[in-house]
Symmetry: C2
Subunit: 189 residues, 2 copies
Amino acid sequence: MNTLSYGLLSLLSHSPLSGYDLMLRIQPFWPAKHSQIYPLLSALEKENQVSFETVSQSDKPDKKVYSITSKGLASLREWLAEPASDPVMRDELMLKAYCVSAVDPVIARPLFQRRLEHYEAKLIRFEEKIASIQRDGGLSDGESPNYHSDRFGAYILLNKAMMSSRTNIEWCRWVLDLIPNTNENSGND
Amino acid sequence: MNTLSYGLLSLLSHSPLSGYDLMLRIQPFWPAKHSQIYPLLSALEKENQVSFETVSQSDKPDKKVYSITSKGLASLREWLAEPASDPVMRDELMLKAYCVSAVDPVIARPLFQRRLEHYEAKLIRFEEKIASIQRDGGLSDGESPNYHSDRFGAYILLNKAMMSSRTNIEWCRWVLDLIPNTNENSGND
DNA sequence: AACCTCATGTAACCAGTTACATGATTCG
DNA sequence: CGAATCATGTAACTGGTTACATGAGGTT
């Protein structure tokens, strides 16, 4: 049982999902391709951590909808009791930032400009999702779902994502202010 | 040439370093073990991207000190001109957070409490390093090194790390306020 | 003597990505 | 009819971790 397997159990603890849906939903928290997820689901099924039923769809191909079993939920609870390992962040931009002075500002600026736009787009999506959770739970702005609500997990995760995006936006703008703007090829957008 | 190889060139663009030192210094930006770094350095040396000289030390074992070559610097500049790929973050705590309602608050709280302490410790180290860069550059509080200064890269990276730590601390405290504190086993610290 | 840090390297394994492969359904 | 999305799977490869291996020098 590796971390991704527990991640799949974590998602399934809220509702049954197909392998394809699991792959899409786990992306923001633990990026993984379908080729990694399908074999793990087979393994989890062999260990009776999850079960599946084939669901026919009229408009789309058939799918295997997985549910967590009581054994899977027990594994999940044991895993939750253990300390979480340290986060791992790998960002090519950080490696580039360290040696950015080796190139002209005209080369350097787009690196941070692109990243700024990336986080601005993400921020909008996160804010929309938080608003939708609050609508669904009948909560006013700033109010949080109860700890025992099944929206609690998604709510705290989305808030982390939103806060991180804002910090990254702030940092990108701060860096862009520090890089000389020689205005080469200005006015071309 | 993979991303880690460029990361090594990035570090070497500031000053010559041993494989061991490279391994220690790249940790905050791109975690890697010595077993991954030594073979890459050999490969970079074969391609004449880096060169090394063996340095004898009286108090410690001999070391191979690597320097970037002009060919290595050219590769680095080409790489800098390409857009940086999206950052990859994998954090077990995020997977646990999503299903945290499956366990008692007494199990849940320490997860976030430990992470809070982790980021508080990191924040102190980052603030110290920023202060030391500012001292070395003869800068007053809030002043930044010039883009063309060789401290610029480290300075903007440390500021990102500091800002992220603060955001994470804020988030952990906010989550801890949302998790009911049943005060089981209280007063034991 | 046992242990820690510094220092370099290889081997075996696990995790993750890219590519290959198939097929249904919908949309333009 | 070609492209896009949904859906599932395997094979080959690359990236990254753990373990094995060695050895100098200093600390307890």
